[in-house]
């Protein structure tokens, strides 16, 4: 259908634009940052004749991959949903700090968590020794080298991917809707019949992200000897140096991710979106009363398990100030690089995400919105190694391309690819909550597109922009696989340094650097979050 146009007072006003230059910008942004390098690899895999055979090994790998990714997403949802609701609907002291702390599990490299938990849960680790002693067992009952060990570690690491979108969704709900429900019923009724249906789309979106993150995870399954598709892809690259076979081995990951996305769309697509009247006030919390302390503890337990336990386990050998000083001396350059590159990447990702989120929220051509959303989210499921080789193939060529390839920009491009899905998710969820009527009214009044964007949309999109930038920053800061493949000399990032130090056996310094990584990500993210909330709460 063509765009509908109505003449009003001499102005041509497009109502519900179907497609435009913004949509083209969205496609260009997606292609340049993600799909061009990945597409080169995937196409190479298809053309190389390495399509996976549907044999027993294929089904065994597929089942194991689904169990690890699905199990970790389930655990992340079990932990993340209550945390999100507690922080979004209860008046807890230190709410801003508690919210910022929920980000920290995303900052601890997954392989560091795996090693920390192995120290604790190893066959001769303290937990097994204690259980053997207390229960008089012959064999240690816990085995970290298992699918369950992988689910535990990945689920803990991914729960913020559920908690944070739930928080953003709750922040965006019109409090009048819940207040009306409270007039008619109890708090639980309001939560069950009003709040939960409204946040179900973001909850499913977060669970999908956690599933995709589990699907793309390499380090944890590799350390725990759990053979999943990412380990298979790594083996194709590492053992056989066959780029086409490695890319082809990733195709089942793409199929699984597509199926998961389609399932999420089917479950969430029919639910009503959160409505929003202008202006909306700051979300109001309920005083938890006697439940205040238990609620705070409940919000902290997942963080402690995901961050403190593995880091303390690592640092238990000999934590001292000298470890921090040595860590700083060996990695200060990488710290500076991370502080420079990751915010750049998060900002670029946000800019690229804007037209993509618009396309998802506003374009009404049948199938376009899910297609664009899938195209922006699915790369989360693909191994960073694929993206790295793809970036080399695109940018390592004569001419201006080399200027980018030899510069830190190539690292930032890899980080943008990791940050973009999170920025898109947060922005699109927020954009859906902005009534079309606001834009239409502004255009009818004569505002240009730029004025509509700057004066109306961006202020209303602040929660999404804030959440998208913060989550994008976290994803960019933690990016490792692609960075290891493309960073030019002197442009290594802190996760890359942590990775090499860990393999050098410097457990104390690794723990110290992880603390530093946590701090340099939490502080700017918390500052951005608090600043944004203060601006919103100003009259």
């Amino acid at each position: 259908m063509s765009t509908l146009v109505r003449r009003l007072g001499g102005h041509r006003v497009p109502l519900r634009p179907r497609f435009s230059g913004v949509g083209l910008a969205a496609i260009a942004g997606l292609c340049l940052t993600i799909w061009l390098p990945l597409g080169v690899m995937v196409w190479g895999g298809l053309m190389g004749g390495h399509l996976p055979r549907l044999d027993a090994r294929f089904w065994s790998l597929t089942l194991r991959t689904l169990v690890v990714a699905g199990g970790s997403a389930g655990l992340a949802t079990l932990l993340g949903l209550p945390v999100g609701i507690a922080l979004g609907r209860l008046r807890l002291p230190g709410n801003t700090l508690l919210r910022a702390l929920q980000v920290t599990p995303l900052l601890v490299p997954s392989y560091v968590s795996a090693i920390g938990w192995l120290h604790l849960l190893g066959r001769s680790g303290p937990l097994n020794r204690w259980l053997v002693g207390v229960l008089a067992l012959e064999q240690p009952p816990l085995d970290a080298y298992s699918v369950w060990g992988a689910i535990w570690i990945l689920g803990l690491a991914a729960f913020p991917l559920v908690a944070l979108p739930v928080l953003a969704g709750l922040d965006g709900i019109d409090p009048d809707l819940e207040e009306e429900a409270l007039l008619l019923g109890s708090r639980w009724d309001a939560l069950r019949y009003v709040t939960m249906p409204l946040i179900l789309p973001v909850l499913l979106g977060g669970a999908l992200l956690a599933f995709l993150a589990g699907l793309a995870e390499f380090a944890v399954p590799s350390f725990l000897s759990v053979n999943v598709y990412t380990v298979e892809v790594f083996a194709r690259f590492a053992a056989f140096y066959d780029f086409a076979a490695g890319a082809a081995a990733a195709l089942p990951l793409l199929m699984i991710a597509l199926a998961a996305f389609a399932g999420e769309r089917w479950l969430a697509g029919r639910r009503p979106r959160v409505g929003l009247d202008v202006p909306y006030g700051a979300p109001r919390g309920t005083d938890p009363g006697l439940w205040r302390a238990p609620a705070i503890v409940a919000c902290m337990v997942p963080v402690v398990l995901a961050v403190a336990v593995p880091l303390l386990s690592l640092a238990s050998r000999a934590p001292s100030f000298s470890d921090y000083r040595f860590a700083w001396e060996v990695a200060c350059r990488e710290v500076a690089n991370s502080l420079l590159f990751a915010p750049c990447a998060a900002t670029v990702a946000l800019v690229v995400a804007l037209p993509i989120a618009w396309s998802i929220a506003r374009v009404t051509l049948p199938g376009t919105s899910p297609l664009v959303e899938a195209a922006s989210l699915l790369p989360v499921a693909l191994p960073g190694m694929l993206l790295g080789i793809g970036l080399i193939r695109i940018w390592n060529r004569a001419g201006p391309f080399l200027w980018v390839y030899r510069s830190p920009c190539i690292v930032i491009l890899g980080q943008v690819a990791r940050a973009l899905p999170f920025a898109v998710l947060c922005l699109a969820a927020c954009w859906r909550q902005v009534p079309v009527a606001l834009e239409e009214s502004a255009r009818i009044a004569g505002a240009s597109s730029a004025q509509v964007l700057w004066r109306i949309l961006l202020p209303l999109l602040r929660p999404g922009l804030r959440a998208g930038w913060c989550l994008g920053l976290v994803a960019a800061m933690a990016e490792l696989q692609t960075t290891l493949l493309v960073y030019p000399p002197g442009a290594a990032t802190l996760p890359a340094r942590i990775f090499t130090l860990q393999h050098d056996g410097q457990a104390e310094n690794v723990a110290a650097l992880c603390m530093i990584l946590t701090a340099i990500t939490v502080l700017p993210a918390a500052a951005a979050w608090a600043l944004g909330r203060r601006e919103e709460e100003q009259p």
Binding site: S222, A239, I389, Y405, S407, I412, L485, A492
Partner: protein, 326 residues
Amino acid sequence: MLALLVLAGCRQDSDTVVVYTSRDQLYAEPILRAFEHETGIQVQAVYDTGATKTVGLTNRLLAEKDHPQADVFWNSEVARTIRLQRAGVLASYVSPQATTIPARFKDPQGYWTGFGARARVIIYNTRMLSKEAVPTSLFELTDPRWRGKVTFGQPILGTMATHNTALFLVLGSERASSFFRALRANDILVIVGNTAVRDAVSRGDVPLGIIDTSDAYEAMADGAPVDIVFPDQDGIGTLVIPNTVALIAGGPHPENGRRFIDYMLRPETERALAWSRSAQIPLHPGVETPEHVRSLDEIVMLDVDYYAIADHLDEVCTYLDELFLR
């Protein structure tokens, strides 16, 4: 800011050498800084770790082949260096410092030269096993008393793959296949790599592992309760794997690359590596080593050709992939 970052990539300094190294940064960096101090040539280094089986750098060098960015590749292993040679990534350079390095550890045309080697040994936890109880041959690891008590790294990656391919060449396909099937049947624990093996044995998760001497010496230097046995000294011998250094074909600073290679192949550099925490075995005769480090002439070496290993790597890895990684 992005423009400034792009401009950073435009500068091409002639007094520079770009080194890709899979040697762990903690050990490589002091040597690179010493080279800078002595020659005034700035080293721009890109690091990987042996733990990632040089995946990053080898794949990167292959992907960059048409527009090389590196001058020198310092690899902690040899078979993948030969693979790069076969792929046309390397250039020939016979360093004058390589004269006294034994012929088996260098390419006759100078495409790569070995130095500072490691041996593939059995590591054991001294709190769980006495020295007398430790197997002295790899083939004893298939004994039922070691069921579930032995670990090794992924058999198709890194020095583990090199070692396994060497065994296939020395034992023959039938005997080697039988050995690996017996290991599988004996519930050998397959974990990600040498570092993980070191940590697993140090923690006491399992009492025995197969590992490189460098990783074992690191654990011992950290005070871990571990020791090593050089397997099959009365039989086929122990595999020795050298570090390798190679000039990249078409690199941006070939002359500086040659100077760097000369520096790396000096006996003084081998001495520094021998006395480092990871204790590499010198290949130059007469280089002093710490007391606990065996010199080359004290090791009965597995008699195998590195080129044959490189040529049969894929075939063996395909078999072991099916056998162990299901």
